[in-house]
């Protein structure tokens, strides 16, 4: 117990973090250990290079985008607080806790999870998945044997499916509509973060 407490003390704003993310202290401690493990130079923050060193991410086709999600625009570092907040998106929603209408929407809500995915596509951060955005995203996810023409058609068709107002781009509203039937909570949750 002593060691747990001493670790917790080292983490800044730990109570606020728990409050905001809904993680248990055990989770926070485990994530903190991982954070320190990634932070090889003990700077107290992570750089994109630190993420790049993770083997699995290097072979992930959209790894760059995912790493990018940790860094707010213009910044090159991420501290533990933000790190945990990003990961909190993937905590499974818990039905057991009573819903308080007054409390702000939790980070792991459906909308927030969707927003996270949305920004995976939206590279230029203009709030819309344009044709170019989607083209790039799909190009990175599809294998090279798909020809450019095929890709073009796929992108066209994908946009067409979701695009309701005909501006040749997918807004967040349209994005959400297209995923209405999908159980996002099941797909965008990690079991061990529960």
């Amino acid at each position: 117990m002593g060691s747990t407490n001493s670790t917790l003390i080292k983490i800044p704003n730990v109570d606020e973090l728990i409050q905001e993310t809904g993680f248990s202290t055990a989770h926070i401690i485990r994530l903190h250990d991982r954070f320190k493990e990634l932070d090889k130079e003990r700077r107290g923050y992570l750089c994109p290079q630190d993420f790049g060193a993770i083997k699995g991410l290097a072979i992930n086709p959209i790894g760059d985008r995912i790493i990018g999600a940790f860094f707010s625009p213009g910044r090159e570092t991420v501290d533990f607080y933000t790190f945990v907040k990003i990961l909190a998106h993937f905590r499974p929603a818990d039905n057991s806790r009573p819903k308080e209408s007054s409390s702000p929407e939790p980070i792991n809500s459906r909308t927030n999870k969707l927003k996270f995915v949305f920004q995976m596509y939206d590279i230029d951060k203009d709030g819309k998945i344009s044709r170019i955005d989607l083209l790039k995203a799909l190009r990175s996810m599809l294998e090279m044997q798909v020809t450019e023409e095929q890709l073009d058609s796929i992108v066209d068709r994908t946009i067409q499916e979701a695009d309701l107002d005909g501006d040749d781009a997918i807004s967040f509203e349209e994005f959400r509509k297209s995923l209405e039937k999908v159980n996002i909570d099941h797909k965008m949750s990690i079991r061990f973060l529960r």
Partner: protein, 841 residues
């Protein structure tokens, strides 16, 4: 009317059954006489027999009664027919099947049939023999179930399914057996000759949750997919486990109580795992063989689908031969190879396989249920013991619930999506017992188990209880509990792409957290599969469309193309597809306002259809003059022969089918239905029009026929010539006249060429044309028909002025003569002949 139909069907059933029974009684009498004759009288010949003895014959028989030659296959076929007719009767009565599940109705019909057999024979001549059941009825059901298994769902829930299938089954077997034994010792069943081991054996055979019964009930209820896969997967795998348990306990029973020591028990446990996992492994091996074989079977596409069935059956038999679990073997064979064979085989073969498996599986399922009913009508097997029967039913339900809830509670500790309480309730209640339990009970050896008939009877009662009663109550229960139903989601590219993003994101997060999560296995398997398994098991070009996004894209395109063709076929023809400049077709309403290059060009191998459309440019193509998205390797070649195809297509659509080519296989049955009066009239009008043209031309002394008509007529006439084995002008009775006058007119030659077609009359079945006649396509037909309407006489009787001068014996040719002799105007007998023709129209 419907009632009448049902009644008639039932009558047919009765007649068939009576015939069967009588046949059997006759056969039995025969056998009796045959047996008796040598012993009783000692006479050497049996003249009253079936006539199958090689007795000396007095004279050459013209026909002989050879019942014994065909007896067995004949009875089998009759029974199959009877069972299937029963299913038909069920399906016709929707009111009943909406209350009682079909399996229950079939069992009840089985009672009726069994009663008839009993009434005729005074003994149960037919019953479900375990050998038949396990070798001829069960394999195809399991193969079908495993081949159509939703793969991803199955493997992602494999852990839960295995735990339920293995642990719950063992628990059920042990607890039911021990509890029954306890009650027996307590004196609840009176005096029975059953030892504890035999109780365990009985418990084991009753622990089989039957996939046949479960599928039959759950498919009608439409529960959510996780619940479905849990129950279904469990029932499928648990059959294998049950059979293994059964054989282990059976061996114990044979050994006898005193000989069983710790060593034997350990051996039993080892054998359990070896048999179960060995069977599964064998199935995987066969799956690999099948997949590799389908890489090359495209050379014999006709029997491609058959390979899968035969190899599946072989995997079943091989496992049986090695005393491994046959059911597990064929299950894993089907589950593992489905992805690869579907990719390797031609789409048509996949459809064939799917349908033939469905036919076989549904057929034998029906037979199983019917025979479960039939087998009941046999007083030999009924040994009533109220305590035993009631306690058995009580225990199987109670222990099923206990095991299910306990295991689910454990599973829920770690599951991302916990199994809800209502789901658990339905899952426990869905423990239907079926034919596997009965088959195993029938397999019991009477020498070792003196109370076999009691067990068999009890098993049957348990089966009826679960299938009929629980089956009936399942639907209301699901509704009352408000169990989450399955939601059907459409296939969209968005869905597929987003799914992929979800997967990537979640795995990345797992990586960042540095822990092995759920996706670790999936991802590594995918990686491994892509690198090695696909390389080994898939054709090169099949690997290409392996990607899910691309696959979805392909499927959607195919679907669109199909809808597109179907829609436009109704409206007319697809001829406009050829006209690239006029191809502004709105594909879907919602995208109609979008302009160029919205829809991908669909390259579909539409060989299913009669016409060869090799590409469907949906919008005017700006970026690419030729369709770019193509799953077909042959596309490049196809482009080159594009022009050729256009001509072919026009020909194909324009031609009336000659009588000669009219449904060669079914010509007898379809002969009369093909005569389409509209079409006949159309031909007549066209002929008349041409005649008029040539007549005018001849009168004016100018070159005839406007361009449109001549263009078509040329094509038609050429095709007619092609369609005929010999030159039509030669064979034509009026070939000479035709040449005389057609020297100046192309259209008249067409008339001549068309003529035999009209005379044959009956053989006109060009569906494309029929549609066109109903709603004429603006592209091709309108100009013709319009001119025809405005300028041409519609009836042959109006043609008095043009009628032929010469006399002819051939009445139907009189119209043709109009063409042959336009210059001479001597109306002689035009009224009656063409008029008669008209009435025929």
């Amino acid at each position: 009317m419907a009632c009448l139909g049902n009644f008639a069907l039932f009558l047919v059933l009765f007649v068939i059954l009576n015939a069967q029974c009588r046949a059997v009684t006759i056969e039995e009498k025969d056998e009796n006489t045959f047996k008796n004759t040598p012993t009783d009288t000692g006479s050497t010949t049996n003249t009253s027999g079936g006539g199958h003895e090689p007795a000396a014959i007095q004279t050459l028989p013209i026909v002989t009664w050879k019942w014994h030659h065909v007896e067995t296959p004949y009875l089998v076929a009759l029974w199959i027919l009877t069972c299937w007719l029963c299913k038909l009767v069920c399906e016709l009565n929707h009111k009943i099947t909406s209350v009682i599940p079909e399996s229950g109705v079939l069992i009840i019909l089985g009672f009726v049939l069994g009663g008839i057999v009993w009434g005729a024979d005074k003994a149960q001549t037919f019953k479900l023999v375990p050998v038949n059941f396990f070798y001829y009825l069960l394999p195809q059901i399991i193969l079908d179930a495993s081949y159509c298994m939703p793969n991803k769902l199955f493997f992602s829930n494999l852990g839960a399914i295995l735990i339920h299938a293995v642990i719950a089954t063992c628990w059920n077997a042990a607890s039911v057996g021990i509890a029954l034994w306890g009650c027996y010792e307590g004196g609840a069943m009176g005096n029975l000759d059953i030892g504890p081991l035999q109780f365990l054996l009985f418990g084991a055979l009753l622990s089989a949750v039957d996939p046949v019964a479960v599928i039959a009930v759950f498919e009608e209820v439409h529960v959510n997919e996780v619940l479905y896969i849990l129950v279904f997967g469990e029932s499928l795998l648990n059959d294998g486990v049950t059979v293994v348990l059964y054989s282990v306990f059976d061996a114990f029973v044979s050994l006898g109580g005193p000989k069983i020591n710790a060593e034997e028990i350990i051996k039993g446990i080892i054998s359990f795992f070896v048999v179960a996992f060995g069977g599964s492994f064998l199935g995987v091996v066969f799956a690999v063989i099948t997949s590799m074989l389908t890489r090359i079977t495209y050379k014999v596409q006709v029997i491609e689908a058959g390979f899968i069935i035969v190899i599946g059956y072989l995997s079943y038999l091989t496992a049986e031969m090695l005393s491994l679990s046959a059911i597990l073997s064929i299950t894993f064979m089907g589950v593992c190879c489905q992805k690869y064979i579907n990719a390797n085989m031609d789409e048509k073969s996949v459809t064939t396989l799917r349908y033939s498996l469905k036919v076989m599986a549904n057929g034998s399922e029906t037979m199983i249920f019917i025979f479960l009913g039939v087998s009941a009508i046999d007083k030999n097997i009924w040994v009533w013991n109220t305590g035993f029967i009631l306690l058995t039913i009580l225990f199987i339900i109670v222990f099923r619930f206990m095991g299910c809830f306990f295991l689910n509670w454990i599973l829920n500790q770690t599951r991302l999506i916990p199994i809800s309480f209502t789901d658990q309730l339905v899952m426990s209640y869905g423990g239907l017992r079926g034919a596997v339990a009965y088959g195993l009970a029938a397999l019991l050896d009477e020498k070792k188990i003196p109370e076999k008939n009691l067990m068999l009877g009890t098993t049957l009662i348990v089966v009826y209880f679960t299938v009929v009663l629980q089956g009936i109550t399942m639907k209301p229960l699901v509704q009352w509990l408000n169990v989450k139903r399955s939601t059907k989601s459409d296939l969209t590219l968005n869905g597929k792409a987003n799914n992929r993003v979800f997967e990537h994101v979640v795995t990345a997060m797992e990586d960042i957290c540095g822990r092995m999560g759920d996706n670790w296995w999936t991802r590594n398997w995918n990686h491994f599969e892509k690198k090695y398994v696909c390389w080994l098991l898939m054709k090169k070009d099949a690997r290409k469309i392996n990607d899910k996004i691309l696959g979805a894209f392909h499927t959607l395109n195919m679907e669109d193309a199909r809808n597109y063709v179907l829609e436009n076929e109704v409206n007319g023809s697809l001829g406009f597809i050829r006209n690239y400049d006029a191809a502004n077709v709105d594909f879907k309403e919602k995208i109609a306002f979008d302009y160029a290059n919205i829809m991908p060009n669909i390259m579909a191998d539409m060989s299913d259809y009669d016409f060869n459309i090799e590409n469907v440019p949906v919008t005017s193509i700006i970026r690419n003059p030729v369709p770019s998205v193509s799953m077909d390797i042959n596309e490049q070649d196809m482009r080159n022969i594009n022009g050729n195809l256009t001509a072919h297509q026009i020909l194909d659509q324009n031609l009336y089918q000659s009588r000669m080519h009219n449904h060669p296989a079914y010509s007898r049955s379809n002969y009369n239905t093909t005569q389409n009066p509209v079409e006949v009239q159309e031909i007549f009008q066209r002929t008349m029009r041409n005649r008029l043209e040539s007549f005018k031309a001849a009168k004016r002394g100018i070159s005839p026929a406007n361009k449109k008509i001549s263009k078509h007529s040329k094509k038609d006439s050429t095709m007619k010539t092609n369609g005929k084995p010999v030159d039509p002008h030669r064979t034509h009775p009026f070939g000479d006249e035709d040449f005389e006058f057609s020297a100046d007119s192309a259209s008249s030659s067409e008339a001549a060429a068309n003529f035999p077609g009209r005379r044959s009359g009956a053989g006109i079945v060009n569906p494309a044309f029929i549609h066109e006649m109903e709603t004429p396509s603006p592209m091709r037909n309108l100009p013709q028909t319009q001119t025809g309407n405005s300028r041409l006489p519609l009836k042959p009787t109006d043609l008095r002025g043009l009628t032929p001068p010469r006399m002819t014996n051939r009445s139907t040719d009189s119209v043709m003569m109009a063409d042959a002799s336009v210059n001479e105007k001597k109306p002689e007998k035009p009224e009656d002949k063409p008029g008669s023709h008209n009435t025929k129209l």
